[in-house]
């Protein structure tokens, strides 16, 4: 489903250039659960952003669902993000002024889905993450774990094929982290392809496959414990 061919990413930083990715080739099969590990600055977040079409490689090819997305215009990439990719972030990125329900509705709002249908699907998504009761709470009335579950509901409400998670448990206590990871595992079991960035081996242990990075390269690729 995902194929990266010798992908590089170079950032200009003042006069110097920073090579975040120094030639990465990677295949990820549909339905797999991959953990990307590595120290800070190893390029794992950059890789995740490229996978999620938020960033473009400096060179190399990226094929998503068999399509070379480097040739797509911004509009087509936006549509892919909206319909086929879900994001979960370390800092949740919920809109503080909106209720949990409205936050989950957000992607559907901009997709032009009518209000009644939005409400129904967002409510179902919140129930699926165990927050049906707290739909009308605002983020500041929710715990960290609950916020991340709202964010997961938002990520999957459009029915994506790929879930990208950037340190989803980085800001959570262990109990909340376990709840969140059990949700992710459940989504994976239902067929969702998951790529998760973490530097916590306990979290990586949930994955089927662990890819380690250092200095913008892949340094290890092994099947996980599960």
């Amino acid at each position: 489903m995902i194929r990266l061919e010798n992908v590089t990413r170079v950032y200009p930083m003042g006069q110097a250039q920073v090579q975040a990715l120094a030639g990465v080739s990677l295949d990820i099969a549909e339905g797999s659960f991959v953990a990307l590990m590595g120290p800070s600055g190893s390029g794992k977040s950059t890789l995740l952003h490229i996978l999620g079409l938020l960033d473009r490689p400096t060179s190399g090819r990226y094929l998503l669902f068999g399509q070379d997305v480097g040739t797509l215009d911004e509009q087509a990439r936006t549509r892919l993000r909206r319909e086929s990719i879900g994001f979960v972030f370390q800092f949740f990125h919920l809109l503080p002024r909106l209720s949990a329900l409205a936050n989950v509705e957000l992607p559907m709002l901009f997709a032009g889905i009518p209000k009644a249908l939005r409400r129904k699907r967002a409510t179902a998504a919140l129930e699926a993450v165990g927050l049906g009761e707290r739909a009308l709470h605002r983020p500041d009335q929710l715990s960290g774990g609950e916020r991340q579950r709202v964010a997961i509901a938002r990520a999957v409400v459009m029915g994506p094929r790929l879930l990208l998670a950037d340190e989803p448990t980085g800001n959570l206590d262990r109990a909340s982290a376990r709840e969140v990871m059990e949700l992710v595992v459940g989504l994976h079991r239902k067929g969702l392809t998951v790529v998760l960035v973490t530097h916590d081996p306990d979290i990586a242990a949930y994955a089927q496959r662990v890819v380690r990075m250092a200095d913008g390269r892949l340094v290890e690729d092994r099947e996980g414990a599960r």
Binding site: E74, R81, E83, F87, F89, P96, R97, F110, A111, R154
Partner: protein, 400 residues
Amino acid sequence: MRFEDALAFAWGSLRGHRLRAALTVLGVSVGIGAVVALTALGEGARRYVVQEFAALGSNLLVVLPGKVETTGAAPFGGVVRDLTIDDALAVSRVAGVHKAAPLASGAETVRWGDLSRAVPVLGTTAELAEVRRLAVREGTFLPQRDAFAGGYEIVLGSKVAAELFRGQSPLGKTVRVGPYRFRVVGVLAPRGRGLGFDFDELVFIPVQTAMRIFDRTSLFRIIVECERFEAMGAVRSRVEKVLVERHRAEDVTVVTQDALIAAFSSILRALTWALAGIAAISLLVAGIGIMNVMLVSVTERRREIGLMKAVGVANRQVAWVFLLEALLLAAAGGALGSTLGALAVRVFVSFYPSFPAAAPLWAYGAALAVALGVGAGFGSWPAYRASRLDPVLALSGGRA
């Protein structure tokens, strides 16, 4: 994306910063209010002048001695003949003319007892009362008699009567105008200003007497009332023709009030536009206020913008919701400003009831349109910036 959803979303963002949004709205409303109020004052001034002229009677012609040459050249021969009482009588016989009143003017001290007052003195005939619709409070206007007969009757303006006689009735009393003695036959009802004269401060005496005591050979004006407003153009040319025949030269000017009204009206309309233009500067300032608030908002909401992009919101949708916020601020400012402006006009009118200040309806429409234009103009750059943010940097909260 549905419009009502975008509107609700933009509204929700504004509600997140009530104070800031309220202050921005206030800024716009001051600008719009100023435009509405100043337009109302300018328009009021125009109406005031038009009314003043119209009070003169819309079917009046005024004959002035001397030809107003648009080229500035002196008339051929260079001699301007006097406008005489005979001319006035000839004009009064022109077909279509209802009445013609001669006017001779001067200024003299009027005395009664040991009180005196310097006043403008108008020499005229009984016809003037009809032509100018003058009402008397006491007594009568000048007696109906031959214009050449002269006589020593005087009619006082209400203020002159009040100041000289201090509550006593002046009727039948003898006042001195300069060295001459006149018998008071009437006092005008208060009338106020009209075309350069304050009728309350005038006195009227027979025209022949005025010509003599002021040593005038020419009348100051002939005021002509036409029978029908529609025929004024034709009457005007006939009056001109009669006077040209009598003088053997084109040495008089006949003006209609319409022309004067139109000229003043257009001057004052230009003034109104100028006032609105000055007020529009405050709108410019308000627009910069909108831009500032929206730029702050874009900077503060970088993560939100990054998130929107991550969940597949298109760049133009990002721009649209930010632009919509600016438009909402501007529209609210426009609505509030129109109300404030209308209120200011009301307060003004309650202090000066005679001044017909009122913003024309188009001013409200234009104010709202201008407000939206300002919102769109000054909101589009922040909106564009929001849409161009790099999602990765925006999500990390870093600077682009």
